[in-house]
């Protein structure tokens, strides 16, 4: 029976983590919808998540659009389907690459920063200080971040969609000699509202997940600098995995049901 004990321990630990995350999530959501709200904190987090992530998300989007056009051209030219490049670029960017890459970039930038900030506040008793000052840490620290993540990532993705398509357009027109007006016509005519909408729904979900993981791991961190470092790593890794998992789930909900 020695093999059963470690399996049991791992299983119990796994479900304990699921339980803790679920309780944290429920608690956090309840504080997002109940007053008092902290508009100054929400605005600050919106700027942090949205505005300051714009350069990294924009750069990711433009290079992704450019590479996508280039790779599609080299691949599709093998069976003379180069004319499909505008459609391939716009549907790939809006449905998949825009939200997923923006989510992953924001997880690396914002999720890590949130885990580090809240984790440091935890180990230096700043979160306890909030409680003694009659301020609920969930309302003051967690809820503004979740609200900001859920609102700002769709806006970021909308901008990333435009920049990504622009990247594909630039490469197609200036390097692959596409006709600019034909390229734009093909892009606009092929695009359907559901393509953009599905990407924005994904972005809202990813924004929530990234900030939730940042807050959860920061809030649960223990043991000084090492604990904060561990929390930061865990926040980025768990957010990235959840983004990929929920990307599949949301895609199947939108396009297979």
């Amino acid at each position: 029976m020695p093999i059963l004990a470690p399996i049991g321990r791992v299983t119990i630990a796994f479900f304990a983590v699921i339980g803790r995350v679920s309780i944290f999530t429920g608690h956090s959501i309840s504080h997002c919808v109940r007053p008092p709200f902290f508009p100054r904190q929400i605005l600050r987090q919106c700027i942090e998540v949205g505005f300051y992530s714009l350069p990294v998300v924009g750069l990711t989007a433009i290079f992704t659009g450019m590479v996508l056009a280039l790779q599609s051209f080299t691949g599709f030219s093998r069976f003379s389907a180069e004319s499909a490049i505008p459609q391939i670029v716009v549907i790939s960017i809006t449905r998949e690459l825009g939200p997923v890459l923006a989510g992953l970039m924001v997880a690396g930038r914002v999720g890590a920063a949130m885990a580090a900030e809240i984790g440091t506040m935890r180990v230096t008793e700043q979160i306890d200080a909030l409680t003694t000052l009659s301020t609920n840490p969930f309302k003051y620290l967690v809820a503004p971040r979740l609200i900001a993540g859920t609102i700002m990532l769709p806006l970021l993705v909308l901008i990333a969609d435009v920049i990504g398509v622009l990247g594909g357009f630039v490469v197609s027109v200036f390097a692959l000699n596409f006709n600019p007006s034909a390229y734009l016509n093909n892009t606009i005519n092929f695009l359907e509202p559901i393509d953009v909408l599905s990407g924005l729904v994904k972005a809202a979900a990813f924004g929530f997940l990234v900030t939730l993981m940042g807050c959860y791991h920061g809030y649960s961190s223990q043991g000084g600098a090492q604990g904060v470092g561990q929390a930061t790593t865990n926040a980025v890794v768990s957010a990235s995995i959840l983004i990929l998992l929920f990307n599949y789930i949301i895609t199947s909900l939108f396009f297979t049901i």
Partner: protein, 258 residues
């Protein structure tokens, strides 16, 4: 004194972390306007005691009353109302490092009492003056202050809302003896001026003698002795005697290996 309701009353409070029992049926009364200092060695449960009273931890059993109100089974909203009576100076100051000093001091006024930022800033600057810090300090960030100044700011934050009960967690730890003496004087004057009740935990005996109306010693999760500061030398309790004299040998066996 028994006709008066204690400001803080603990009865049979027990708290364990796994197999380690930290508080083991602890009883304690703190009377209105009294300054009680709980002394005891590292790891004897002093911080756990304060965290249970404040509500940062929940006792496994026993009762905690604030102004005669049992608080251990209160919901979050009721608990928040009780917490408004509290102020606390943390061992590491626990200043919000993303805010200016005045914002730290004004935090409770703005968030808990709904004061306007301009009014709260004026009050914060006045409170900083009470702990001997000028208005220019209010514009600095916590990281640019020394440990002693951070403790003073933390004291200012603790008293800014005129709390009825103030908790001091190791107020002189990590600062030099002169600054420690200054912090103690500020604590005494602040508490007396406001007529507040104070509960301090420390293992600094000089500090305890300066701050306390009454000293209580915690050992193995219980209060084993309580009395006036001038009675402590003649307490007749071997644990107290060993602790206040810092003797390596005696009934208190310190764990020196992990």
């Amino acid at each position: 004194m028994s006709a008066v309701t204690p400001k803080i009353r603990l009865r049979g409070v027990t708290k364990a972390f796994g197999p380690k029992v930290v508080l083991n049926g602890l009883d304690l009364d703190v009377w209105p306007g009294e300054s009680v200092v709980v002394i005891g060695g590292s790891g004897t449960g002093k911080s756990v005691l304060i965290k249970n009273i404040i509500g940062l931890l929940h006792p496994d059993s026993g009762t905690i009353e604030i102004d005669g109100q049992e608080v251990t089974h209160m919901n979050a909203r009721e608990r928040e109302d009780v917490t408004r009576k509290f102020g606390m100076l943390f061992q590491g100051a626990a200043l919000f490092d993303s805010m200016k000093i005045w914002e730290n001091v004004a935090f409770g006024l703005i968030q808990a009492e709904g004061a306007r930022r301009r009014d709260a800033k004026e009050k914060a600057i006045a409170t900083l003056a009470r702990v001997g810090l000028g208005p220019q300090v209010g514009e600095l960030m916590p990281a640019s202050l020394s440990a002693g100044m951070q403790k003073r700011v933390s004291l200012a934050r603790a008293i800014a809302t005129n709390p009825e009960i103030i908790f001091f967690d190791e107020p002189t730890t990590g600062i030099d003896p002169i600054m420690g003496s200054i912090i103690d004087q500020l604590i005494v004057s602040s508490v007396k001026d406001m007529g507040a009740t104070a509960l301090t935990i420390t293992h600094d005996m000089d500090s305890a003698r300066r701050i306390a109306d009454r000293i209580a010693m915690i050992f193995q999760g219980r209060i084993i002795w309580s009395g006036a500061p001038d009675e402590i030398e003649s307490s007749g309790n071997p644990h107290v005697k060993q602790f206040i004299n810092g003797e390596a040998h005696g009934p208190i066996q310190m764990q020196i290996r992990a």
